[in-house]
């Protein structure tokens, strides 16, 4: 269980819930509909779980050791975190209905490249089951949170998104160092 909280924090920072909330609210279509939130959760969950279970085979296919992949994952997360800090939430247009729920909500906002990197690194380095649990919790919590809070124009989510971007950079640096310092 000791690995669970670091994985949850890593995924939380990689997904960056306030950034998603700000993107959805900023798209100008009002509050997210429950059906769209459910589709977004399911879509992201399917993608993240598929990547989690395929993580070992994926690294084998790429001929990469988990220790070396940590460095790549750290770079992807650091780039994403720096982008959040510099530019704030990504300004995707979010169409109402299932199309918007799948793109950009499920991918690439919930199941983002940073989130994919996080689940691959966690699944191969730490624990697959705990990674699955963390991915489901984060995806469900974010979908529910966006469902509850979207539509209220306020600068708070954008500011929080930058802050979590900084957390992501911090975790990314940790992952990079772990990758370099591993045998």
């Amino acid at each position: 269980m000791s690995d669970f909280w670091p994985i949850l924090l890593l995924l939380f920072a990689a997904v960056n819930p306030p950034a998603i909330l700000a993107t959805v609210t900023g798209s100008g279509h009002g509050r997210l509909q429950p059906k769209a939130a459910l589709i977004a959760f399911l879509g992201a969950a399917v993608l993240l779980l598929a990547v989690t279970f395929a993580a070992g085979a994926f690294l084998d296919a790429l001929e990469l050791e988990p220790e070396t992949f940590r460095i790549s994952a750290g770079i992807v997360m650091m780039t994403t975190g720096v982008a959040f800090i510099l530019f704030g939430p990504f300004p995707y247009p979010v169409e109402p209905g299932w199309k918007g729920a799948l793109f950009p909500l499920a991918f690439p906002l919930l199941a983002s490249p940073a989130a994919f990197s996080a689940v691959i690194a966690s699944a191969t380095d730490r624990d697959e089951i705990q990674t699955v649990a963390a991915a489901l919790i984060v995806a469900a919590a974010v979908a529910a949170g966006v469902l509850a809070l979207s539509g209220r124009a306020t600068p708070v989510p954008a500011a929080l998104a930058r802050l979590i971007g900084a957390v992501l950079v911090w975790r990314a640096v940790g992952l990079l160092i772990e990758g370099i310092r591993a045998v």
Partner: protein, 393 residues
């Protein structure tokens, strides 16, 4: 929406491609059988034998493109090459003893003696560099292991006493003894010298327990583990010192203190990282642009030597045992990379002097004797790891 999807996927693909050619290039460790490992070590040893003259001196550097030999010579490397022959002999190939003894005889003819100690001096310059005596002593300890011959015991003690003369109170070692002043030069240290002396003295304690050789070894072990990188301005610690790893493995049953084990862990991580990076180098035009050229065998060999030493430590000390599988994996990967890059008999035919190409490692058309020295040590020391892995169910 399709435009946004396409743009997003495009950015992701470009990012993936960039990662693939840089940090996420494939890691490739060639297959390595025990027979191939033994053949590679044997070919490296044969190069050294071929490159040795009747006076025991080796070809220092050979430029295959110009078919020319370097006029330089390096006494420390002479001692190192000789030591590697004794090491390989101690690991089973006793046929190397005559060549090693010729190399040793040259060193015995070039000693300087003072106040009960002896040191190897450069016959051309008169310089007395610590590393030469350390590696000469390390060679003699290996020789004593394989032959059981005690004829050099007095000389071993003389050399070891010189090493202690060069030791500072904090355990660090000075690099030169100056004939002009009759004393060590207090201003010069070397990133190599301390570890070389450390290992040689640690072996003295194995051969002559009860004579007190462990006391200077403990001081140097503490210096290496706790102070060396900062004191000598070595960036990105720990400096990947295979001699220190040799020494730690030698001390495994003394046993080591926790901070030495912590240092061993840091060394394992550094050597492991270096091997992982090397396994991503293909020397192809695109790969080389982003990842650099193959490391020369003298460098790659030292990393494998370090890992093989740490593998022995992991086998002997429970505090470090968890590192054994990964350390073994990286050591064998490094050994396989070395074997795969060695010039084969068939390939040597394309060189102007096939006898000085077969079994060697070249970079930019050059091979130097320490390429074969470190590769031979690395390959020979990897044998027990591979044998153990082959026996595993």
């Amino acid at each position: 929406m399709l435009t946004a999807v396409g743009a997003t996927l495009g950015v992701c693909l470009v990012g993936l491609a960039l990662l693939r050619v840089t940090v996420a290039a494939p890691q490739r460790c060639p297959a390595l059988s025990p027979a191939a490992l033994a053949a590679s070590a044997s070919a490296a040893a044969s190069w050294i034998e071929t490159a040795q003259g009747p006076d025991g001196v080796y070809v220092y550097e050979y430029d295959a493109e110009a078919d020319a030999f370097s006029a330089d010579y390096n006494v420390v490397r002479h001692a190192g090459v000789t030591m590697s022959l004794y090491q390989a002999a101690a690991l089973g190939d006793r046929s190397l003893l005559p060549a090693a003894d010729r190399g040793m005889a040259w060193m015995e003819a070039n000693l300087i003696r003072r106040d009960g100690w002896a040191a190897l001096r450069n016959p051309d310059t008169g310089r007395v560099k610590l590393g030469a005596s350390s590696l000469m002593l390390a060679g003699l300890t290996q020789r004593r292991l394989v032959t059981g011959d005690h004829r050099h015991d007095a000389l071993m003690r003389e050399l070891a006493r010189f090493l202690t003369v060069m030791q500072r109170p904090d355990g660090s070692m000075l690099n030169y003894w100056r004939p002009s002043t009759g004393a060590p030069d207090p201003s010069v240290t070397s990133r190599y010298a301390t570890g070389e002396a450390f290992w040689a003295l640690a072996q003295m304690h194995r051969h002559f327990p009860g004579e007190g050789w462990d006391e200077p070894v403990w001081r140097t072990a503490d210096y290496l583990a706790l102070h060396r990188d900062a004191a000598e301005g070595l960036h990105f610690p720990p400096w990947p010192d295979q001699w220190a790893a040799y020494g730690l493995a030698e001390m495994a049953d003394w046993p080591l203190e926790d901070h030495h084990i912590e240092y061993a862990r840091a060394l394992a991580e550094r050597f492991g990282f270096l091997i992982r990076v090397e396994s991503q180098r293909t020397a192809g035009p695109v790969n080389e642009r982003f990842r650099g050229p193959h490391t020369r065998a003298a460098g790659l060999g030292t990393w494998v030597e370090g890992l093989t030493s740490l593998w022995r430590l992991a086998r002997a000390d429970e505090r470090f045992a968890g590192f054994e599988p990964k350390v073994a994996e990286r050591a064998l990967c490094g050994a396989a990379l070395l074997a795969s890059r060695q010039i084969t008999d068939g390939e040597s035919a394309a060189y102007p002097r096939p006898e000085l190409a077969a079994g060697a490692w070249f970079r930019d058309g050059l091979t130097r004797m320490d390429d074969q020295q470190h590769a031979l040590s690395a390959l020979a020391l990897s044998g027990p790891i591979l044998a153990r892995r082959e026996r595993a169910p």
